[in-house]
């Protein structure tokens, strides 16, 4: 990566205020997921226009769009809340997740839109109390920042190419 590119996408390339708002968004997002609060997860997305994708790096690198979750409009993000909270309720063994994030890149896309990359590791703990790695990867986000930060689009790209068991909650 050239020095020019690096300085343009460093976290310090955007204002402290914007960074703080994005940091709050990321913290709210993982706090919601780690308490199985799907409505809190939904609140992280821009209700006017947003998308959420969760796919493997294998597919991403090949330019293939399908993956674990494919919510290409805000309505289907709403529907995913309903699937987990209502339709699947009582059928799956709940598991506790812990998301750990590390922002790596951020840059302005003009007006109030920013792109951001954030590494994640997600641990999960099953009913027996055993903790394992669920996934490791990187969020590739577009974030609207205007007093409060909301996700315009989130792409959770998993380095983990074979996931354990099954996935109920988004990453």
């Amino acid at each position: 990566m050239s020095d020019q590119v690096r300085s343009d996408t460093r976290l310090s390339s955007v204002s402290r205020d914007v960074r703080d708002q994005i940091a709050d968004l990321q913290a709210d997002y993982i706090a919601a997921l780690d308490s199985q609060d799907m409505k809190g997860w939904l609140a992280s997305f821009d209700e006017n226009n947003s998308s959420y994708f969760c796919r493997s790096k294998e597919n991403e690198d090949e330019g293939l769009e399908v993956g674990y979750m494919f919510d290409d409009c805000h309505e289907r993000i709403c529907d995913r809340v309903k699937f987990v909270d209502e339709i699947w309720a009582g059928t799956f063994e709940e598991y506790q997740t812990r998301h750990f994030l590390q922002p790596t890149r951020c840059k302005s896309l003009g007006e109030d839109l920013y792109s951001a990359q954030t590494n994640f590791t997600v641990m999960y703990t099953d009913d027996a109390g055993i903790t394992k790695v669920l996934a490791s990867g990187c969020y590739d986000d577009e974030i609207v920042v205007n007093g409060v930060a909301r996700l315009r689009s989130r792409k959770a790209v998993l380095d983990t190419n074979v996931v354990p068991r099954y996935m109920v909650y988004p990453i």
Binding site: F70, W88, T91
Partner: protein, 424 residues
């Protein structure tokens, strides 16, 4: 006295409490937990039969290759510079190192070189180069009688069946069509889905901590679908009362199919009363386009699950088309590889429909997530009581084609053939 209560009727082959030969309405749980059984399966169930290895569309160009497994044996499927498809065991003939380390790629020159001592092989698996063959400065080198032709990679017989590439270690096995039971419902439904060139849309992969056969049973049991998968029930995608049925190919493979057609009201009501878990009526989604789809086949069939033993499931659920490859990884773990596909001539709208509907299936699928969990629930509970047996009696004790979905007949037929192959 029936087989269940007469101890003398229980045959111990080799040391599990199976019901008598020909009766497969229960199986001893040890078959899911014994290492010796797992090892024997590799020799008797996986290696001698046709195993799914790849879609032809995954290796479309000369020089393309894909690494996968036949049972738990690592193999590589290649397309040589002339376009012919081959497969070989991914283990160097020299000292046993893995030759191909990538999941997939292209070797334009058609050469596969082991990194350890640089023995080089062609796409067919034949040895084509050995460093220091004549030594250095008259020292070392291979003996005069060293014959390159004797040191190729172990080859796997392959057949391209309508775009699906199968492999076997068995040179005497019938062709894939014969393996599927010849002309019949299984090969009919295979060709129905594989009716024209395919296009790969992506993969997902999951480890499930259960024996592979628990998943094999799951894919042959149509009646769990409306009980376990509440999404199906909630949106009427699949009901046990639906028009559908099961067909058995050569009593080892099976096809489950269901049509979109409406059943009569009393059957519908009876179905609902039998499901103890509640589901809500009149449910809507904010984005109903997930379920809109497009009619693709004239027959009105909206769900087909082809369970091709030992390693493959081919499915159509609404507009999702996929192959699921079952890769045993030990007595209590398998990897399930989902490869989603469409047709080469799909338009952009069809691509979008399929991509959207992939939400239905896979490790996070709205109607498949629970299968991974169900398999683990079984594996976790059956430990220790290896001679205790399951009950597989929905719709009787035997197995046959049936014009309904309330049956475990295909599961019984699977076990019947499994026992023949395993000599259990």
């Amino acid at each position: 006295m029936d087989a269940k209560t007469d101890p003398s009727a229980i045959s111990h082959l080799p040391d599990l409490a199976w019901p008598p030969a020909g009766v497969s309405d229960s199986v001893p749980f040890g078959v899911f937990t014994d290492q010796a059984t797992y090892d024997l399966e590799q020799e008797r169930v996986f290696r001698p039969t046709w195993n799914y290895l790849a879609l032809e569309a995954e290796i479309p160009n000369a020089g393309d290759y894909k690494s996968t497994f036949l049972g738990d044996t690592p193999v590589v499927v290649t397309r040589d510079t002339e376009g012919e498809i081959h497969a070989w065991v991914n283990r160097c003939a020299h000292r046993g190192a893995m030759v191909c380390r990538e999941n997939q790629g292209n070797n334009a020159d058609g050469t596969y070189t082991c990194v350890y001592h640089q023995w080089a092989f062609d796409a067919k698996g034949d040895l084509i180069g050995v460093p220091f063959r004549r030594g250095l400065g008259g020292k070392g080198g291979y003996p005069k009688d060293f014959d390159m032709k004797e040191h190729g990679l172990q080859k796997v017989r392959v057949e391209n069946y309508h775009g699906l590439i199968f492999g076997t270690f068995n040179e005497d096995l019938v062709d894939v069509e014969g393996f599927l039971g010849g002309e019949g419902d299984v090969s009919y439904h295979m060709k129905r889905i594989l009716n024209r060139p395919l296009k790969v849309l992506g993969h997902t992969r999951q480890f499930v901590d259960s024996n592979w056969k628990i998943y094999a049973e799951n894919t042959k049991d149509p009646y769990h679908a409306s009980l376990l998968h509440l999404f199906h029930m909630t949106f009427g995608l699949y009901r046990s009362s639906q028009v559908g049925g099961v067909s058995l190919g050569d009593e080892w493979h099976s096809v489950l199919f269901a049509s979109a057609g409406e059943e009569d009201e009393s059957t519908k009501k009876e179905n609902k009363e039998n499901a103890s878990r509640t589901y809500q009526e009149g449910y809507t989604l904010a984005d109903m386009s997930l379920l809109a789809g497009r009619k693709e086949y004239d027959d009105g069939v909206t769900l087909v699950i082809l369970s091709i033993m030992p390693s493959l499931v081919v499915q159509q659920i609404q507009n999702t088309l996929a192959v699921r490859q079952i890769l045993p990884k030990g007595v209590d773990q398998f990897e399930l590889v989902w490869t989603y596909f469409g047709y080469d001539d799909d338009d952009a709208e069809m691509d979008a429909i399929r991509e959207k509907q992939v939400n239905l299936i896979g490790p996070a699928g709205l109607i498949s997530m629970e299968d991974g969990e169900a398999c683990e629930l079984v594996q976790n509970a059956i430990i220790r009581d290896r001679d205790a047996r399951s009950c597989i009696q929905m719709s009787g004790h035997d197995f046959k084609d049936e014009p309904h979905l309330v049956t475990e007949g295909p599961v019984r037929s699977f076990w019947n053939r499994y026992r023949l192959l395993m000599d259990f």
